[in-house]
C-alpha cells in the first residue's frame, strides 16, 4: 500500500452524543442598566442594544447603550470614590475586597462559564477550564499585591494614578475584565470599564459580584456601549489612565486622540505571531501546539500563532498530522462539553474571516479545511489552513482573527528568524525544538513580548503579557502589570 492511500478515518461508527451543560439555574436579566456608583441605573439616553447568542442568533438580553453623560457620571463616581474612599483606604483592606471578588467568582464559576459561552460563542469546556479560573486567579494574584507595593519598585515608592478608563474586547470577556480591574484596584485606582458590545454579560455579572462583595460604590463602574461610548471614555478629561485591548487600528486612533492630554496609557493590540517548528522538535506535541495556537478559541486570540513556519524536512509529516488532527476537532454548540471550536463571535467577524479566506484563495493560496459539518443557524467557520503562501501574501501579513492558519516552510534558522520578525507586529511567538541552546537563541531573537517555547497560548496571572512594536505597549500580569497603574516617586 503506498503512502498516499494510507488514511486514517475519524468518522467512526461510535459518535459522541450531545453532552449539554446544565443551564437551568443561571440567572440572566431581560434588561441590564449601567453599573455606576454601586447600582444598576438606567441611562438618560434610553438607548439599548441586544446581545445575542452567536451560536443560534437568539437574543439573550437588552443592554443599555451609555452616552457621554452616562460616561461622565461614571467618571464622576469613580473620581469621588477615589478621592474620598479608595485612595484613603488601608492597602490591606483594599486587598481584602479584591480577594472577595476572586472567591465569589470561584463560588459562581459554573454560572459565569455558561453565560460566557452563551454570550460569546466559546466552548463551555474552555470557559470552565480556562477563562473563569484564570479570571478568578487574576483577582487573587493582584489582591495580594495591594499592601506590598513598596517591594515591587526597587528604590522608588508608588502612588496610584486616579481614575482608569478601560476598554476590553470580546474574545475573553471576563478574563479581560479581570486583567484590567484587578491591577487597577490593587494599586489604589478606581475604574470605569466598557466591555465589548457583543459580550457585555459577564462584565455585568461581575458588577453583581462587586455589589455582593460590598466594594465601595464608584470604585468599579461598568458602562456598556459601542464605539461611541468607548470614545467618550477615551476623550474624558478627568480620566488619568487609559487601558485598551483591541485592534491595532483602534489603538493608534486612541494614541492620536489623547496626544498631548497627559493621560497615561497602555495598549494591547493585534498580532500575527510566528509559530516555528524545527526538525528536531517533539513533532507530535508540536502539532498539538499548532491546534493550541490557532484553533483554540476559534482563533479569536491576539497572540494566536497564525503564521506557521515548519522546517522543510518535516513539513509533509507535520501538515499531514495537522490535517488529521483537524478532522477530530468538534465544531458545534458552545454549550456541548465536547465542543472544541465554538461559534464565531459575530456576523461582522465571520464576514471578515470569509473575506480573508477568499482573498487568500485569490492570492493563490491552497486551502484545506476540516470536513466537519456546520450548524445551520449561527456564525461558524471551520478550521482552515493555507499552504503555498509566502511573506508577500496578505493572508500572511494581516491579522484575520479566526481559525485560519498560514503555513510556510523554511530551510535555515536565520531564514526563519528574519521571517518571523518581518512584521509590524510583535506580540508573541512559538519555538519548537528539543535542542536547548537553539531554543534560547531563537527565543532571544524573536522580537515579541511573549515567547512560548515548546508550548503555546499558556497564561497565568503572574506572567507578564504584552507586545513589542505595533502589538502595543505595557504589560498585564506579574509585577510588570503593576507599572501600568502607578506613578513612581
Amino acid at each position: 500500500m503506498s503512502k498516499k492511500t494510507r488514511k486514517l478515518s475519524f468518522d467512526t461508527d461510535w459518535k459522541f452524543s450531545p453532552a449539554l451543560e446544565n443551564t437551568e439555574y443561571i440567572d440572566i436579566k431581560k434588561r441590564y442598566g449601567l453599573f455606576i456608583n454601586g447600582k444598576f441605573i438606567p441611562s438618560k439616553g434610553k438607548k439599548f442594544f441586544d446581545t445575542i447568542n452567536p451560536a443560534n442568533e437568539d437574543k439573550i438580553a437588552e443592554i443599555t447603550d451609555a452616552n457621554s453623560s452616562d460616561v461622565s457620571l461614571a467618571v464622576q463616581s469613580a473620581r469621588s470614590a477615589y478621592e474620598k474612599v479608595w485612595s484613603k483606604m488601608n492597602p490591606s483592606e483594599r486587598g481584602k475586597y479584591i480577594f472577595r471578588i476572586a472567591r465569589l467568582i470561584q463560588e459562581r464559576a459554573r454560572e459565569f462559564a455558561v453565560i460566557e459561552s452563551l454570550d460569546g460563542g466559546k466552548p463551555i469546556r474552555e470557559s470552565k477550564q480556562v477563562d473563569i479560573p484564570l479570571a478568578s486567579a487574576h483577582f487573587f494574584y493582584y489582591a495580594g499585591w495591594a499592601d506590598k507595593l513598596n517591594y515591587a519598585f526597587p528604590g522608588r515608592s508608588a502612588h496610584s494614578l486616579g481614575v482608569a478608563g478601560q476598554i476590553i474586547p470580546w474574545n475573553f470577556p471576563l478574563l479581560m475584565a479581570a486583567w484590567k480591574i484587578a491591577p487597577a484596584l490593587a494599586t489604589g485606582n478606581t475604574v470605569v470599564l466598557k466591555p465589548a458590545e457583543t459580550t457585555p454579560l459577564t462584565a455585568l455579572k461581575l458588577a453583581e459580584i462587586i455589589q455582593e462583595a460590598d466594594v465601595p460604590p464608584g470604585v468599579v463602574n461598568i458602562v456598556t456601549g459601542g464605539g461611541a461610548t468607548g470614545r467618550a471614555i477615551v476623550k474624558h478629561p478627568d480620566i488619568d489612565k487609559i487601558a485598551f485591548t483591541g485592534s491595532t487600528e483602534v489603538g493608534k486612533y486612541i494614541m492620536d486622540v489623547i496626544a498631548g492630554s497627559g493621560k497615561k496609557y497602555t495598549l494591547e493590540l493585534g498580532g500575527k505571531a510566528a509559530n516555528i517548528i524545527f526538525e528536531d522538535a517533539a513533532i507530535n506535541q508540536a502539532v498539538e501546539g499548532i491546534v493550541d495556537s490557532i484553533f483554540f478559541n476559534q482563533g479569536h486570540v491576539c497572540c494566536a500563532g497564525s503564521r506557521l513556519y515548519v522546517q522543510e524536512s518535516i513539513a509533509q509529516e507535520v501538515i499531514r498530522k495537522l490535517k488529521d488532527r483537524m478532522e477530530t476537532l468538534v465544531i458545534g454548540n458552545p454549550l456541548d462539553k465536547n465542543t472544541d471550536i465554538g461559534a464565531i463571535n459575530s456576523k461582522m467577524q465571520l464576514e471578515k474571516i470569509c473575506s480573508y479566506v477568499d482573498l487568500g484563495k485569490s492570492e493563490g493560496g491552497a486551502i484545506h479545511q476540516s470536513s466537519c459539518s456546520l450548524p445551520e443557524k449561527g456564525y461558524w467557520y471551520p478550521p482552515t489552513l493555507f499552504t503555498d503562501v509566502s511573506q508577500s501574501h496578505r493572508v500572511v501579513q494581516e491579522e484575520i482573527f479566526g481559525p485560519v492558519l498560514a503555513v510556510q516552510t523554511f530551510r535555515t534558522v536565520d531564514e526563519v528568524i528574519s521571517k518571523a520578525n518581518n512584521t509590524p507586529y510583535g506580540l508573541s511567538g512559538g519555538v519548537w525544538t528539543e535542542k536547548g541552546s537553539k531554543l534560547f537563541q531563537v527565543s532571544k531573537e524573536i522580537r515579541a513580548g511573549v515567547i512560548w517555547a515548546n508550548s503555546f497560548n499558556k497564561f497565568d496571572p503572574g506572567s507578564p503579557f504584552g507586545g513589542y512594536k505595533e502589538s502595543g505597549m505595557g504589560r498585564e500580569g506579574g509585577v510588570e502589570g503593576l507599572y501600568s497603574y502607578v506613578g513612581l516617586d
Binding site: 503512502k3 461508527d13 461510535w14 528536531d280 522538535a281 508550548s455
Partner: protein, 298 residues
C-alpha cells in the same frame, strides 16, 4: 542477528500531558456511553496472573468470561482470557466451542530474566497447548543498556515461534520510565513483527498510564503511515473503572480512528474492569446506581 538502529524520537512530556487532559475532558453520555461500554466489554482480556492460580480458579474465570451477567441478555463477550502458561490447557478445555480467545503470557513473564532459548521454548509450549495469543515481555535491561538488536531479535524469534498465534509485546513502560523509551521500544517491537504492543505486565506500578498509552497509540499511527501495517494496542494494569476504559476509547478514536475501534486491534488487560463496565451498563439501562453484590466475582 540484525543490527538494529533505533530511530530516536523526542517527546515532550508536558505536551503529552496536555493532549491527554484534552482527550479525557470528552463527555461521553447517553447512547454514546452505552455504545462505548459495550465496545469496552468486548475488548477485555479477562486476566488472572497470580502465583496461586489453580485449575479451579481458571475454570471459574473462564465461566465468568462466557457468562458475564446472564441476567442481562445480549451482552458482548470478552475478547479473551489471559493466563499463565501452566493454565493454558485448562483454559482451552473450559472454553471449548466459545469464540473467546486464549491468551497466554510467556517468555518468563513478568521479568523476562532467563535465556532466550528457554523463553522461546515457553512460547512453543503455550502455542502447542492451544494459546491463540501470546503476550511476551521484552528484556528491559537489554533495552536500557542500548542492546536494541538483542531485543529486536527476541521479538522476531518469538513471532516466528507463534506461528498462527498473535504476538503481543509487553514493553513494561514503568521500567522504561521515559516516554521516549516507550516510543522507541514501540517502534522497535512493531518493526520486529509484533501484532500488538502492550503497556505493562500489571505486576509493577506504574502500569498503564494515560501518557504512555497515548505515546504508544501515536507510535502505532506513525508506523501505519510509514508501513501500512496496522498493529494493535493493549493497555494493561490499573484499568479498573469503566470511566477510564471509555477515556482510552476516546484516545483510540481520536488518534487512530475507525480502524482500531475493534477487539481485533484494541484490548484492555484487566480483571475487575468487566464488573465495573457491567454495572455502568445496567445503570444506563435502569437509571439506578448499582452495587457489586448483584454481579458475580470470579
Amino acid at each position: 542477528m540484525l543490527n538494529y538502529q533505533l530511530q530516536k524520537y523526542s517527546i515532550d512530556q508536558v505536551g503529552v500531558a496536555g493532549r491527554v487532559q484534552r482527550l479525557f475532558s470528552r463527555s461521553i453520555k447517553k447512547e454514546s456511553k452505552m455504545q462505548a461500554l459495550r465496545l469496552a466489554l468486548s475488548m477485555i482480556d479477562l486476566t488472572t496472573l497470580e502465583g496461586k492460580d489453580s485449575p479451579g480458579k481458571v475454570k471459574q474465570l473462564c465461566y465468568k468470561a462466557a457468562h458475564l451477567h446472564d441476567q442481562f441478555p445480549n451482552l458482548p463477550k470478552v475478547a479473551a482470557v489471559c493466563v499463565y502458561p501452566n493454565m493454558v490447557k485448562e483454559a482451552k478445555n473450559a472454553l471449548t466451542g466459545s469464540l473467546i480467545k486464549i491468551a497466554s503470557v510467556a517468555t518468563s513473564f513478568p521479568s523476562g530474566m532467563s535465556t532466550l532459548k528457554s523463553k522461546i521454548q515457553e512460547v512453543n509450549r503455550v502455542v502447542k497447548d492451544g494459546a491463540d495469543e501470546v503476550d511476551m515481555v521484552i528484556s528491559r535491561g537489554r533495552f536500557l543498556q542500548g542492546d536494541y538488536s538483542y531485543v529486536f531479535d527476541e521479538i522476531a524469534q518469538a513471532k516466528e515461534a507463534c506461528g498462527q498465534a498473535h504476538l503481543k509485546v509487553i514493553l513494561e513502560a514503568g521500567e522504561l520510565v521515559t516516554l521516549e523509551n516507550v516510543c522507541n521500544a514501540s517502534e522497535l517491537a512493531m518493526e520486529a513483527g509484533a501484532d500488538f504492543i502492550k503497556t505493562s505486565t500489571g505486576k509493577i506500578t506504574p502500569a498503564a498510564t494515560p501518557q504512555v498509552v497515548l505515546v504508544m497509540l501515536e507510535a502505532i499511527r506513525d508506523f501505519y503511515i510509514k508501513t501500512g501495517k496496522t498493529v494493535g494496542m493493549k493497555p494493561a494494569g490499573g484499568i479498573n473503572t469503566a470511566k477510564r476504559a471509555i477515556q482510552y476509547l476516546v484516545m483510540v478514536r481520536e488518534t487512530l480512528g475507525q480502524g482500531w475501534m475493534t477487539p481485533d486491534k484494541f484490548r484492555f488487560g484487566a480483571s475487575s474492569l468487566a464488573n465495573d463496565v457491567l454495572m455502568q451498563i445496567i445503570k444506563q439501562k435502569t437509571n439506578v446506581y448499582q452495587s457489586i453484590n448483584y454481579f458475580s466475582i470470579d
